[in-house]
Amino acid sequence: MRVKLRVLYFASIREKLGRDAEEIDLPAGVATVAALRTHLRARGGAWADALAEGKLLRAAVNQDMAQPAAAIKAGDEVAFFPPVTGG
């Protein structure tokens, strides 16, 4: 059973962070997409910039679009990315 949280980054977020994915232990008290974003932002530097408060970002949990209040748990795949521009 996977107990880590898989976090993915795309497009401009991926470039700013210099990575496209990582596996982390779900930090205590982090139970939503918004809380995870705050937790990652606290790393400072590029993280504070790429995930800055007020910056328009989208998120997905297990490959479905998710609101900031969406619940997350160990084993989930959470992705952060800018608003989409396909088509």
Binding site: L8, F10, A11, S12, L56, A60, Q63, D64, M65, A79, F81, P82, P83, V84, T85, G86, G87
Partner: protein, 142 residues
């Protein structure tokens, strides 16, 4: 139903033919999108992209008569005038085919995880999402 996220080009005529076999089909509406002006690279979220488009197609099927459809979107490096995307919807009559085709495109623009990076004269730049695309998708809610 065909959903494909691919690097390779596609043949609109062949795709239309492939979804037109059922003799009850009386209309096929198609849309194709091309690269305008500048070269670009398209990034996507493998797995989620297919899943997001499948959900959009399911929603279209719940609203209109969709007897078959094909959605193909390319990724990777693309040049001006290259084909990027196509949507083809087969139905009994044109009204449902037109509406479902436009709906799928409008939702794809705002809900399917793709990102364009354009090669401008000032270097490569990520394309900003447009409010007009959000508006186009919004109007299907009423």
């Amino acid at each position: 139903m065909k959903i494909s996220i691919q690097k390779e080009d596609f043949d609109l005529g062949a795709e239309v033919k492939a979804i037109s076999a059922n003799p009850k089909i009386g209309a096929v509406a198609t849309f194709s999108g091309l690269v305008r002006d500048v070269a670009m690279t398209l990034e996507h979220y493998p797995g989620m992209t297919e899943r997001a488009i499948a959900k959009i197609v399911d929603e279209a099927k719940s609203r209109w008569q969709v007897m078959d459809c094909a959605v193909i979107h390319r990724y990777g490096a693309l040049q001006p005038n290259d084909r990027i995307v196509m949507v083809a919807v087969a139905s009994g009559h044109r009204g449902d085919a037109f509406a479902a085709c436009e709906f799928i495109m409008d939702y794809l623009k705002t809900r399917a995880p793709f990102w364009k990076k354009e090669q401008t004269r000032d270097g490569a730049q990520w394309v900003e999402a447009k409010a007009t695309d959000d508006k186009a998708a919004e109007r299907w809610k009423s």
